[in-house]
């Protein structure tokens, strides 16, 4: 098994590197490849089971888009053929959308793999605890960002919990089809933007979420799901007892009525 961590020099904010740290324990037999800014990603020429890309500064978002744009067709092929799982956390999610609208109204074209776009509102920072659901499990997480994402066209995006009933992550590009649903359904907090409880993007080969930081360590059941999906079935996770103790404590706190989210 091969795991490729893209651009850890710049994609390393907010403790996101914890996820790769934990995956190394979860997948002890896997080969981990860290791809620097001047390297061609391994997935371009070789099989990779998991590509991980995480939070970065807004300046580096634009840099990474420039690096990945020439590889867009290859990425789309890998996604369509479901040969590689792409795990995107934090504002890495915005890279696969159609564009990012800057504070001055100008646009940075993104990879255009999904029909949603991001709107930056710097210096307004949006911070929130997020309690969400994923396949019957509760997800505890956190988001902190300068931007929100919106679907490009008002169609049905995900399920009926969408407050605005808008938006399939649409037909803006051919690869975006109706199999797309949100990754998480938010119970407390907000989703891709303040008007929806739908959070992230999920296809058979893409798990993308605005949640950042040690997402996998904080959510052992989700991590087990991910590891199983990669075909590396495991009975218990590394440090299973301690990780679950931390999760249970946090879940109880997140579930308290009236908890302050920001």
């Amino acid at each position: 098994m091969r795991v490729e961590i893209l651009y850890p020099q710049v994609c390393c904010l907010y403790g996101d590197k914890a996820n790769a740290m934990y995956l190394r324990h979860c997948l002890p037999q896997a080969e981990f490849i860290e791809t620097s800014l001047t390297d061609e990603p391994t997935f371009v020429r070789e099989d990779v089971d998991l590509v991980y890309l995480c939070s970065m500064s807004e300046q580096n978002q634009e840099l990474v888009i420039d690096l990945l744009a020439p590889l867009r067709d290859r990425i789309r092929t890998l996604m369509d053929e479901e040969r590689t799982l792409f795990l995107l956390t934090g504002n890495a999610l915005e890279l696969v959308g159609s564009y990012i609208e800057r504070e001055d109204g100008s646009r940075k074209e993104a990879l255009g793999l999904f029909g949603l776009h991001a709107v930056r509102q710097t210096p307004r920072r949006f911070n929130s605890l997020i309690l969400a659901e994923f396949e019957g499990m509760k997800i505890v997480g956190y988001t902190s960002r300068f931007s929100h994402s919106y679907v490009d066209e008002p169609k049905v995006y995900g399920q009926s919990t969408d407050r605005t009933a808008t938006g399939d992550v649409g037909d803006a590009v051919p690869s975006a089809d109706n199999t797309q649903i949100s990754l998480f359904t938010v119970v407390k907090g907000v989703g891709l933007n303040p008007d929806t409880m739908l959070e992230g993007i999920r296809t058979p080969s893409v798990y993308a979420t605005y949640l950042l930081g040690p997402l996998l360590i904080a959510n052992p059941d989700f991590t087990k799901h991910l590891v199983d999906k990669l075909g590396a079935h495991t009975g218990t996770l590394p440090f299973d007892r301690e990780v679950r103790l931390a999760y249970d404590k946090k879940l109880a706190e997140y579930s308290k009525p009236g908890i302050e989210l920001e």
Binding site: S36, S57, L129, I217, A246, G258, I259, E260
Partner: protein
């Protein structure tokens, strides 16, 4: 003072100051709040002193601000400063109120202002400092400061073009400020010292690649995180050469040897800890550019000391109990403290009391920062026990396990006050209590409990 509104704001601000002083308050913030409420552009309206120095950056700005102000005062300058107030707009406004007369005429020779780096966009364009000292830029609170690129952009965008920048050449995160705007820029740095490395030992380095060709930078010497002197092996980009360079600082003769051009001068060393050497150097450069002579600076510095509130110790029998500031939410501050603990001799116990006191009341602290902090430094045979304390103790426990700390050395205490009951002291040389600014009270209780336990044990 150009507008009637601003003048009314000034008068009300001064009256507020007088009233609060009569009531025995330090009046360092409220007069500014009043001024800004009455006149939102008060900072732009109030008359400026002949000299204005602002100091910003992630770490060290308070120390540098105080050093500059104290040395100026020691040399006969009248100075207005916000040392007792906030470093955001109200604190700045209050300091400016104190720098002018009731009629708005400047009374002081200089304003020396500590400026919060994120709030600098609301201050620098209006205050228009003569000099802006930037100590360094590191990642800090996620909620407030996002990331160093954001803070860089804020300072870079809002610094007036006519301001002279005094910058840390060893910090590439801030050294490129003013590059495009064409500000006059003066750099300070410290030459290679014992203990410097060429490969990072920290998890976080916020400036690791060449801005021109993206090649990974090579460090000729690296001090901590991204602080050091870097070059690009591909295109030749490098850290700027310092105009003022510390050649040597010696504990024996308490001297700080600074080279500037062909000249070298020995200043009194205020504190030998490396980040305080940077702080003193930044102050020396600012004072030099203001126009003080070496002798004047030397005289001013000779009476100064850096209050060591961040590190205090009590010895009971053969065991030292050390309180060490380790700002929560700040992976760099935490890593620096963990590195210090690691390098201290002897067998140690480490008590972590860094969970934010305010977040715990009715929220849940985002704990991602601990994965940017070098908990790996605690994976050391001499660290015989680590107590993870506070509501996030189980998260700290997982982090410690991932850092390789053996499970049997970790103790979790949801209630910090339980910690003294679990601390082992037999065969231990020191107990380190690491605390956040928000947990100082509970940390002092824990420290007292540990000391009490040691005294009873004797």
């Amino acid at each position: 003072m150009s507008s009637l509104r601003a003048h009314i704001a000034l008068v009300l601000s001064k009256m507020t100051y007088r009233l609060l002083r009569v009531l025995g308050r330090n009046a360092s913030n409220a007069p500014g709040l009043v001024a800004l409420k009455v006149c939102p552009d008060y900072l732009a309206q109030v008359a400026r002193c002949p000299l204005c120095v602002c100091v910003t950056g992630t770490n060290g700005k308070t120390t540098v601000t105080n050093m500059i102000a104290d040395v100026l005062v020691a040399n006969g300058y009248s100075v207005s400063t916000n040392r007792l107030g906030s470093n955001i707009a109200p604190g700045i406004a209050a300091a400016l109120t104190n720098s002018v007369s009731w009629s708005g005429r400047p009374l002081k020779d200089a304003c020396v202002l500590e400026v919060d780096e994120r709030a600098s966009r609301l201050i620098l364009p209006f205050v228009k400092p003569t000099f802006l000292v930037v100590t360094n830029l590191f990642r800090d609170s996620l909620k407030r400061n996002a990331h160093p690129d954001y803070i860089f952009d804020v300072i870079d965008t809002y610094t007036p073009k006519q301001t002279t920048l005094i910058l840390n050449a060893d910090d590439l995160c801030s050294a490129r400020l003013g590059e495009h705007a064409g500000n006059e820029r003066i750099f300070f740095g410290i030459t290679e010292v014992e203990g410097d490395v060429t490969q990072s030992v920290n998890l976080v380095a916020d400036y690791s690649f060449c801005p021109h060709c993206l090649t990974t930078l090579q460090y000729d010497h690296l001090r901590y995180h991204h602080i050091g002197h870097a070059t690009c092996p591909s295109c030749g980009f490098s850290s700027p050469g310092p105009d003022y360079l510390v050649r040597r600082f010696t504990q024996d003769d308490q001297a700080l040897i600074v080279e500037h051009g062909e000249a070298t001068h020995a200043y009194p060393l205020v504190n030998e800890v490396i980040f305080n050497v940077y702080n003193e150097l930044a102050a020396i450069v600012a004072l030099t550019r203001i126009g003080l002579t070496e002798a004047q600076i030397e005289t001013g510095l000779s009476s100064l000391s850096v209050p060591d509130t961040r590190l205090k110790q009590t010895t009971v029998g053969s065991v030292r109990v050390v309180q060490a500031m380790s700002k929560g939410q700040s992976c760099v501050s935490c890593s620096r403290t963990l590195d210090y603990v690691r390098q201290e001799p002897g067998r140690k116990v480490v008590v972590l009391i860094m969970d934010d006191y305010y977040d715990r009341k009715n929220s849940v602290e985002f704990i991602g920062w601990i994965y940017d902090a070098d908990y790996e430094f605690l994976n050391d045979p001499d660290v015989v026990q680590v107590l993870a304390c506070g509501p996030r103790c189980y998260d700290h426990q997982v982090r410690l396990l991932l850092a390789g700390v053996p499970k049997e050395r970790i103790v979790c205490c949801e209630d910090e006050l339980d910690a003294p009951h679990h601390v082992i002291t037999d065969g231990v040389d020191a107990v380190y209590v690491l605390y956040d600014t928000s947990t100082v009270d509970v940390a002092m209780k824990v420290k007292a409990g540990i000391i009490h336990g040691l005294e009873v044990h004797q």
